[in-house]
Symmetry: none
Subunit: 218 residues, 4 copies
Amino acid sequence: MSARNRSAPRKRPRQERAKATVETILEAAAHVLVTSGYEGTTTKAVAERAGVSIGSLYQYFPSKEALVAMLLERFHQRALEVLADKLAPHPITDLEQEVRELVRALVEFYGVNPRLQRVLLEQAPRIGRLQVVQEIEARVESLVQIVLAQNLEFERPRNLGLVVFIIIRALRSAVWAVVVERPELIGTPEFVEELSALILGYLRPQGDRRKHSTPGVK
Amino acid sequence: MSARNRSAPRKRPRQERAKATVETILEAAAHVLVTSGYEGTTTKAVAERAGVSIGSLYQYFPSKEALVAMLLERFHQRALEVLADKLAPHPITDLEQEVRELVRALVEFYGVNPRLQRVLLEQAPRIGRLQVVQEIEARVESLVQIVLAQNLEFERPRNLGLVVFIIIRALRSAVWAVVVERPELIGTPEFVEELSALILGYLRPQGDRRKHSTPGVK
Amino acid sequence: MSARNRSAPRKRPRQERAKATVETILEAAAHVLVTSGYEGTTTKAVAERAGVSIGSLYQYFPSKEALVAMLLERFHQRALEVLADKLAPHPITDLEQEVRELVRALVEFYGVNPRLQRVLLEQAPRIGRLQVVQEIEARVESLVQIVLAQNLEFERPRNLGLVVFIIIRALRSAVWAVVVERPELIGTPEFVEELSALILGYLRPQGDRRKHSTPGVK
Amino acid sequence: MSARNRSAPRKRPRQERAKATVETILEAAAHVLVTSGYEGTTTKAVAERAGVSIGSLYQYFPSKEALVAMLLERFHQRALEVLADKLAPHPITDLEQEVRELVRALVEFYGVNPRLQRVLLEQAPRIGRLQVVQEIEARVESLVQIVLAQNLEFERPRNLGLVVFIIIRALRSAVWAVVVERPELIGTPEFVEELSALILGYLRPQGDRRKHSTPGVK
DNA sequence: AATGAATGAGCATTCATTCAT
DNA sequence: CATGAATGAATGCTCATTCAT
């Protein structure tokens, strides 16, 4: 097996039982990753939690990396589905409402098992398989960019790619930080409201700043 | 040595030579952490790069964790110094300019060795309660909060703590993401401009949104 | 695995092959302990002598300590079997003969690999409360005590527990000392005779001492 | 420095201060050996407890072994002094009383820091320097043997060397065992009484056994 | 002499991975 | 296919000892 394929799943499970095993293993892996971090995760622990032998684990995943890669891929696939729906090209009548919906979707999405997401995105070694992930991330950015391009106009020229890039990072990290450090705020309308304000304020024509006196200064 | 002290430095170097050794080790550790990640960092590699024996490393740092802890502490100490300066209470005449300055400071600060910062902060939660670090983070938030409280008034009631929390996370992760993924943008006025816009837009009286038509919709 | 379990074996071997491995490792451990002492014994040396990989050793014994603990346990188990037989409650017609038999049994028992026994018992106090071992030692003492209580009467009141305690220690250390320092005496009738005399003299009614003139003084 | 000299003290301290330092180090070593066992004793710990630098320790003792060797030597020297006194050739009028005195002396002697004695005699590696120790032990045995030879006559021929050998081992191990496992008994007359009974019974003419019915059988 | 910084061989232990059954 | 026994390179860390200051 070439090095290139280290993080590719070993084979397609044909039978139903095999599929179930794969699912069990992935769930176990997710759990162990969350509770022990990437470094603390051992294949033995995953196999034990999944209730299968270490041999069986290696039957479906040729390495620890492959396990993480599979989880990453699935996570992004799901991200894409959720967002593609919200971001499907459509006429926008109320951008404010639209952004609020998008934020709500993102909060919901990033709020699902954020600890796992952090382990996957931050601690896991940048694996070869990440190509898939990068492609998906690129597609999400591109979707958001298209929606914005079709619905916004700025008084000054702006690098829309950068704007989208910043929006996504800012939102994601804010959601993660809140979920991890201030979990009591999840689900409060206040939280979604503030994040929407962050994005909406950012998208509002920047020219405004010069038309009025500095806003909000006492 | 108790378990509590796993991440505390082992002893104070008394001679000049020893101080130099400690510095060399820390520099080497930073380098190895950046190039190999936390997991990939071995104490042997650090010692070798530092040009000292593995024994010398353990003379001053009782564990790999202690090495990271020391770097984390220094990083936060430096963070505090930089920001305390910018955030020292003072009369604010031009909030816009003020925020731009703050953003510039943060960009500069977070932009220094961001890969190291990420490794450090990723591991921070696993490292025995670094009181110093937590205190410093709290102080930074508190500084920002005080500045904002003295200079802003909002039309609707807002949870200022949450606002500050979001600002800091959003800024930090945006800076890191740009530095790591779009390094060519660092130092461009465009980048600082966009980040300032993000924060300024967020702080602008939210009531505006209702007074005008949705801004910028085609 | 908790600290409590440091000296407990790691898992039960399920396959025949595994059982054989465990036996091989224990034999190798005994050998290395005898030739190198506890401190000089390295897990690597044990594994090598056993002809297994170091990993296999740790598959069954979580630590060097556990290896010693297992040997200790087996040794005491065997001790109990040997002695329980000799000490089983039974009518005693000839105490002298009885004691001689017991001494012979003990000489035989303690004479088997006494160097290993010393290493094991020297380390015993450092090994996490080996309940099994302590229980067995207590049972041996209790057996001896019962036999004596049923067959002896003393003219003066004596602390039987202390008597038994002294007998066992005195016998054991005398046997060990002879085996280690005067191996040529093992198996001679003279040796068993002297040890029997030691015990018999001790058990003989102490009142005798006052009835006769001091015996044997020239 | 040749390998032969590893356990020889490095130099004779000329000055008073140096002598005091040596004493301090030896006391510290004794303490650490008792509390941590031979394996657990580190030269650093000894130096720290003695309040001297590790360098100073090595100024006087070229190795850890030399430290232990010195303690052993002193211990035996002291043993010899105590016993030589008791065992000095002299007319014996009351053997019983004599033995009781001897036992009392031995109990006292072996009862002084028995844990240290055990570490020194059991756990410490058999060092080259032990020649000295063996010579001293031989002298003690010889002293006891002479005393006994001059004061005892047996009805049957006995190997007096073996008798002495057994007496010394039995006493020593009984005392150690009691001090370590039943410390509450130390100093009780009962304890000395029982040990005296052990030795006296052993030395009593063995012919007695045949003259009377088995003693003490119910 | 005294200090303590520096050394590095050596040890216990882990864990991803392979392979015989 | 499943099992779990076996592997061994690699790691974190200790500690007796040396040596520069």
